[in-house]
Symmetry: C2
Subunit: 259 residues, 2 copies
């Protein structure tokens, strides 16, 4: 396949380098030409900065830029690639952001943390593909299968739910660790004492349903401890943590009393 990229950031970087092993990377577009050139050199492509330089003779255009910029790019650039399949690589952008502007639209989303320094284990990276047209979906599935053993054809609602779930499972759990550290720091207690419990809790969630693994005073309905903890937080001037404690404890109790 002949593939071009809009964007030369981390996602474009890793995709272009890996895809260049089996496909021809034609052009890398970036508003910052130096940035585009850096990547283009590594995958024998042409770096460009002007729409007038677009080569339409490609099979796939990958838009790998920040979520907010996708809508504007498809409006301004989509018409240069009228009969070309265009995909974005975002986990949190609906397919219709492209498909409202362009007939042959799709999504090619890798569930992975990218940094420029580290190589990606592509074969184990889940890839989520979606397309408005069945033929295009087959093209994307084939391309995904050439990269990874874990290819999923999920629709936008599913992909977006995964992204939302990751906020709960990762961003919010990390904030729970951060709140825990604030609590022990205030009493000069060593946060590392909690490491075994943190790792064990995470590990158990991958072996069993987290609902059935729930422990703690809220789960047990131990109102004495719940009251003591909220009093401790209030007296420490941490009304913010008290509010979180109260709402999450209520959530656990409601959840445990459900089916």
């Amino acid at each position: 396949m002949r593939i071009s990229f809009i964007g030369s950031g981390r996602v474009a970087h890793h995709f272009a380098k890996q895809l260049s092993k089996q496909h021809q990377i034609v052009q890398i577009y970036s508003r910052d030409l130096t940035h585009a050139q850096k990547l283009a050199e590594q995958c024998h492509a042409q770096a460009i900065q002007n729409y007038s330089q677009f080569d339409h003779n490609i099979d796939l255009l990958m838009i790998a830029i920040s979520d907010q910029a996708i809508a504007e790019v498809i409006v301004n650039m989509g018409r240069y690639f009228e009969n070309v399949l265009i995909v974005h690589t975002s986990g949190s952008t609906h397919l219709n952001v492209l498909s409202q502007q362009h007939a042959r639209s799709g999504v090619f989303y890798p569930l992975q943390t990218f940094s420029l320094e580290r190589d990606i284990d592509w074969s184990n990276t889940p890839l989520f593909v979606e397309a408005t047209q069945v033929d295009d979906l087959q093209i994307l599935v084939a391309l995904a299968n050439s990269l990874s053993n874990r290819v999923y054809t999920y629709d936008s609602a599913q992909r977006l739910s995964l992204h939302l779930a990751a906020v709960f499972a990762c961003n919010f759990s990390n904030y729970c660790y951060d709140m825990a550290k604030q609590v022990v720091d205030a009493e000069q207690v060593d946060f590392s004492l909690l490491y075994p419990l943190i790792l064990e809790t995470a590990n158990k969630a991958t072996l069993n349903n987290p609902k059935t693994m729930q422990t703690g005073p809220a789960m047990r309905g131990d109102q004495n401890i719940l009251n003591m903890h909220m009093k401790m937080l209030a007296e420490a001037g941490r009304g913010d943590l008290k509010q979180v404690y109260e709402i999450l404890s209520q959530g656990i109790q409601t959840r445990q009393s459900s089916q």
Copy 2:
């Protein structure tokens, strides 16, 4: 040392069995005599059910019962052991629950999950000791050192803060996993896709300060994504999860803008 126990549950069970290797376990008291007998047999002790049978000729009395019952037990039984060092084994009960009633009081708390089926790795189990009298603290430190390489003399405020922090770091992070699973389950998306992110997040929190490891839309201040997520939760009829999302996102943003 001559040691007796009030209680014959999981904590008493593991302590009595381990201590019996180096010390004499004298009596096991339980309201349920059969239960006391089961443990007493394993550590060559006498099982009792009546206060009149108490043998006062001991060096240490360990109260290993539920948190709520400790206050009542020390009022009713403490006078039978007037000159004896009495400790409780609770992470969430202040020393003064004992010391208000009894002169020689202490705490001997293991930070560990106990189940009857599994053996405890005592040498790596953090033990927290505390006592009202300096001589008694030395006795408890020596006893703790004979069990574990990780002995801490923390006061009650410190011990209680550790317990409160564990609620945030473990109980609440597990509830975050549970909420994540509810989000993906509603869209027939495989929760196991999140396992690598869950494990990586927990692992990173043991290597770096969780505050600096924070990621996600709240951390980035990406209001478009925050709004989209809250709209998704509202439209799915999950006002409860929306409330959690909003409060934790606000918490992350406030935290990141602090020093």
